[in-house]
Amino acid sequence: QETTVIGVSIPAATHGWAGGMNFHAQEAIDRLEATYPELDFVLATASDPAKQVNDIEDMMATRNIDALVVLPFESEPLTAPVKRVKDSGAWVTVIDRGLSEDGIEDLYVAGDNPGFGTTSGMFFKEMMPDGGKIVVLRGIPTTIDNERVEGFQAAIEGSGIEILGMEHGNWNRDDAFTVMQDFLSKYPEIDAVWASDDDMAIGVLAAIKEAGRMDEMWVLGGAGMKEMIARVRDGDPYVKANVTYPPSMSGTAIELTALNFVSNAPVSGKFVIGSVLVTQENAEKFYFPDSPF
């Protein structure tokens, strides 16, 4: 039986969400390899776009891949190299970040970044009908972060919610802790914090707790880290909700790609995984105790 080689190229686990995404990819690969001996996977993780392009070139030159599952580090730089893979006749699955040219990929599995921002914004609007003062912690400066923040800003437009300050917490606990400490020094009155990511939310909560201002404000994180989901589920007054951006989409994409080779199911097309608001009512559904994220 002919083996099918599927290359998987994803960004390295440099922050919590990416770590979860790596975990789900690895987990899907292990499972599929065990189930389907005819499938062979090649996993490479990259810490910058150039390295990712190198990885993809190597897969083409030395591993003869039949399919590529890629989560582009950035859209533009990866477009041409992925197109070359496509032109070589391989199957291409793109995760999360669309390429800058349409029609290259056979399968697109993505989260919805503007939607992530919008859902978060709607929640703020709902919680603060009379407006209020909030601070925002942004991620690493990237298109993703821009889209999320724009979605958020659009959603709270006209609600009377005032963004006192925005700084980059780089999806990092320590950076978020530092930034939040300084926000707390700077603004005597803060009603809520949009941390836009659960790693940052943890840093933010630590800073608020330390300043003894827990009762003044609540925090919305995002992306569904299991600890945070658990707090939502348990009714933590400071962590009322969460917004999903499931790292498991990597596993989904890999699985769908594999299905294309081992079954006749039609899998091409576009799967957008919407960002869902997680509240105490539905939290249990989003709790994955085995994930590292």
Partner: protein
């Protein structure tokens, strides 16, 4: 006879003053700017925040001062912190079933952190002094290795301390004595001991002599390898100490823990007036350097004058300026 020589020390004194004043001046300027921009800047809370979060870099920078003075370098401290913190947490979590949520577990974790730091420093030092490999390469290698190990241990995610134990451990970062937090106290003690060691012990002199001229030191019966080895072991132990204080803050370690701390640490040392080429080190200068770097971040967060995208640019300019202030025609390496 050597009449002109009379001027030499005077001159030296003056030069010393200018060089010494440079970083202090930069620090004062930053404090003034901070106060003007935000009245809460000098508030007890903000000062406490800045000092205690600077303590990690600060503790390591004191150790780095000795390494650099002796002509070495260590690029691995940032990822070493992540690695040590990760292992500490794993050890403590593993001990809870048998020892319960107790200070005993925490003390074992702390001891492990310090021991691991000393060991990691000893490995670096061994490769550098005994195998004769350039410190840059050895510690670049160990930087990459430690970071990779912590990612692997965390399975790409975060290694988190058991919640109950974390709450018990928390006061080590957030608590203190007489209203002064532990990290600040520890940093101060380390800095004072470091200053004494540098200026008032034979060890400090030997470090400077080795950095100035290894051959001369060797001919003067200085145990060059032993002294140099010790600088790395001490630095490693201090990295362990920083990790001991770091873990209770957020109770976790991951791939991104301590990212770029090595550059920040080295920058603090050099801003403080220590020569990167070795031969001269100043621990109190390092402390000033650490505070300068800590304040830059703080001030940028306290104001909205510029796009946050440009924060880095401002940091860079201030780092260079702080050194321009102490530029005194030193060898331009």
């Amino acid at each position: 006879m050597a009449e002109q020589t009379t001027n030499a020390p005077g001159k030296a004194g003056f030069k010393f003053d200018l060089q010494a004043l440079g970083p202090i001046l930069a620090l004062v300027v930053l404090v003034v700017i901070g106060t003007l921009l935000n009245p809460d800047f000098l508030g007890q809370q903000n000062i406490t925040n800045v000092l205690s979060r600077s303590a990690f870099i600060g503790i390591m920078a004191v150790g780095m001062t000795f390494v650099i003075t002796a002509g070495g370098l260590d690029l691995s401290v940032g990822s070493m912190t992540a690695f040590i913190a990760g292992i500490m947490i794993m050890i403590m979590n593993a001990l809870i079933p048998s020892l319960g949520t107790s200070w005993g577990v925490i003390l074992i974790g702390m001891g492990a952190g310090l021991a691991l730091g000393a060991l990691a420093g000893a490995v670096n030092g061994f490769l550098i002094t005994r195998m004769g490999i350039e410190a840059f390469i050895v510690t670049l290698g160990s930087m990459v290795i430690f970071r990779s190990l912590v990612t692997w241990l965390a399975d790409g995610g975060t290694i988190s301390l058991n919640f109950a134990l974390g709450s018990l451990y928390e006061p080590v970062y957030y608590g203190g004595l007489f209203g002064i937090r532990w990290p600040i106290i520890v940093f101060a003690v380390v800095a004072i001991l470091g200053e004494i060691a540098m200026r008032h012990t034979a060890y400090g002199r030997h470090c400077a002599a080795i950095g100035s001229n290894e051959q001369v030191a060797l001919y003067s019966a200085v145990h060059v390898k032993r002294v140099r080895m010790l600088t790395y072991v001490v630095l490693g132990t201090l990295v362990g100490l920083a990790s001991v204080l770091y873990v209770p803050r957020l109770g976790s370690a991951s791939n991104s823990t301590g990212l770029l701390w090595e550059l920040e640490t080295i920058a603090a040392v050099i801003i403080g007036g220590t020569l990167l080429s070795g031969g001269f080190g100043r621990v109190w200068g390092t402390v000033v350097g650490v505070l300068i770097l800590g304040l830059i971040d703080n001030i940028l967060n306290l104001t909205d004058l510029v796009s946050p995208y440009l924060n880095g640019a401002i940091q860079g300019v201030i780092i260079i300026l702080a050194v321009v202030l102490q530029r005194a025609r030193k060898s331009s390496r």
